[in-house]
Symmetry: C2
């Protein structure tokens, strides 16, 4: 049996965040002590580790809900799990593409050697979209 503080230390997830996951229906409601404090089993620890790791990989709370559900049915086909992961991968790729474009523009404008605002490439570019090399 772990207290919420113990669980927090073992997983690195902050206490209010653990309660939040419970509220969201991600983490099962643990049993309570006589004084109404949360008491977690080994299973609770495993669930929270799963959640934490999924969050680190950028899955949304909703996705994790499904993934957790799936993980509790070893005999299910794993097509659904793959679909979630593949969709997420696509989102990550898309975000990366956008960041690369951003980086390109930012690299260009930060090379400015001007002294004053009146000639500054940063300000000029922001005021005039035409100066951008990529479309956005």
């Amino acid at each position: 049996m772990y207290s919420i503080g113990e669980l927090s230390k073992r997983t690195g997830v902050k206490i209010p965040t653990i309660r939040y996951y419970e509220d969201m229906g991600l983490l099962e409601q643990p049993i309570r002590s006589q004084g109404n404090q949360r008491r977690y089993s080994e299973d609770g620890l495993k669930q929270l580790s799963f959640i934490r790791h999924s969050r680190e990989l950028g899955f949304s709370i909703e996705d994790i809900k499904e993934l957790l559900e799936l993980s509790q049915h070893p005999e299910y086909p794993c097509a659904d799990a793959h679909a979630i992961a593949t969709r997420h991968l696509e989102e990550v790729r898309e975000r990366e593409r956008k960041l690369r474009k951003l980086k390109k523009e930012l690299l260009r404008i930060t090379k400015c050697n001007a002294d004053s605002i009146s000639e500054c490439a940063v300000i000029e570019t922001l005021a005039d979209h035409e100066q951008c090399v990529t479309e956005h």
Copy 2:
């Protein structure tokens, strides 16, 4: 003189968002018609274009506030503008690095060929951090 709807069409910024920028102190309060409707000048259009473009490049509202302020003082040195842009570039780089790591893990796990959850690499990886090739 542009109505808020006109301004919205010309800049591609939605009407509630324009009002939001005004509330945040980004966009100057325009004059009002007799019936209390917003009426924008050419300057308002320019300001909003600047804001929109800055947002497209990922600058925060707070950063844009400073950049707009700077842009209105052509004689100021542009070191501050550079500092903001450079810091932002660093953040973009950092996010890109993280996404690359994410992508690497996601690529690995989505290659799984299993049929059932019990052998699925997606689920296994989420349950066991040790299987990851990058640290996070």
